[in-house]
Symmetry: C2
Amino acid sequence: MKKILVVGSVGIDDIETPAGKVEKVPGGSAVYFSLAASMFAKVNFVGVAGSDFPQETIDLMKSRDIDLKGFEIVEGKTFRWSGRYHDDMDRRDTLLTELNVFETFKPKLPDEYKNSEILFLANIHPDLQLEVLKNVNKPELIISDTMNFWINSVPEKVVEVIRKSDIFIINDTELLLMTGERNFLSGADRILEECPQLKALIVKLGKFGIYATDGNDEFFLPAFPLRQVVDPTGAGDSLAGGFTGYLAKTGIYTFQNIKTACVYGSITASYSVNDFSIQGLKEFDLDDIKSEYDIFKKLTTF
Amino acid sequence: MKKILVVGSVGIDDIETPAGKVEKVPGGSAVYFSLAASMFAKVNFVGVAGSDFPQETIDLMKSRDIDLKGFEIVEGKTFRWSGRYHDDMDRRDTLLTELNVFETFKPKLPDEYKNSEILFLANIHPDLQLEVLKNVNKPELIISDTMNFWINSVPEKVVEVIRKSDIFIINDTELLLMTGERNFLSGADRILEECPQLKALIVKLGKFGIYATDGNDEFFLPAFPLRQVVDPTGAGDSLAGGFTGYLAKTGIYTFQNIKTACVYGSITASYSVNDFSIQGLKEFDLDDIKSEYDIFKKLTTF
């Protein structure tokens, strides 16, 4: 069992989807990620929130044995995000982004975090991701994530982060944006050409699943066949959490094990989208997901 | 080994894709389908062309042992279609449609065709599909296809055809159009509720693969990981051809065998899109595709 260090955002969100609307609910990449990953392994948490961040969520994280020594609560307001999803749940409009205490966030790593075997760099400014990379002691495995905002504004920094990572996770539209390619396969080829040190590139295809490649082997996992999605917010972070958690639990970083990690990541994400905010992740229990694993086997076997 | 009867269109196409441009090349659903299916089983062909249809293509079909007694060549011009694909190869604009001799097409079934064990109703007016259904002797398996044009213009007729079919093949955008659902899973559920006699519904997801369900079991096959697509025209008909051909070759119509048929259909389609018009299908040889089958196995196994 390896320890995971996650650095990412902590937020309070307003979310509207075709299934309903919620206000001032907990969110942020590090929150979703750590709740997901903590079902598999020990998580060290680095992030910042304002004094308005709900104690209930902090208590939930503690109950999951997430180490919160790196979670700063500072005077002021937590990062705020508000979004509205379209009918197809694929696209969303961002209605509001207020950085608040996140604007001046400098990740501070407690000394004991620096030897975490696995580092997950959630979606934050690549400069912060690079800063964290300087301050850790050679993790066994570095996994990073990003988003279109950074690809548009500081693309060369994003590439710098990928070049220092072992596994990079991206969604298909971001991949096309980043590479200028027409399809995700060519996009993945391009990233692996430019960043040949990558052990794996994980391309999230939304309702179509996950494509993973190490440049030689390829893997395509469909999405879990969910009839109803309540809230897609945090699906990618939950997927990354389950994925990273499984790798931490097993301590094996082969492409074969990365494939299985994709399955666990997908199952985790399917719980996350079942309810608003982090509610779905509360229902997630490793002992309970054998049926989901079997569904994936049946779904993909011919 | 079962015999397949196909009724569909025969055309002459002008095609422009990001990979290039061709004019007056052979096309049509029945032509793509029969060239694909004939690699697996015996095909009886019903369709109509004008006197301008290339003899070379007729000779190719003969060389594949496709029975052409039901292929009428009449005075006049063949059905013409012209289209231009967008950069992503997913969307296309139809630039021209001229029905020509196809306008008055009444499928005439040679008597010996009427006992074909498998009937494939390619994309033509549902009235013609229903007419064919009246004139055959209880095929063991009826597979049908359609397109958005008929879903928009005569939706109740399309449903009538599906209700008389064992397997229905549709693409995801057509499925959403037809059912008004937001995602292909719910769309598939809806079709199976309305047409419970279906043995299987096959939903083509383009570059994301195929989703198949019989209402109980579900199957998701990724697309063959092709780096370059030259011409997507006829991909769906080629897929249906390989799919139906495999079912005819084996004579087994279980969902398990339908899954394997999806794999063969996908491999067939991957050959079809490798070159313009029917050129790609000329390269297709059953003895040659073990490596593609193995790639699919590797791609989907965890």
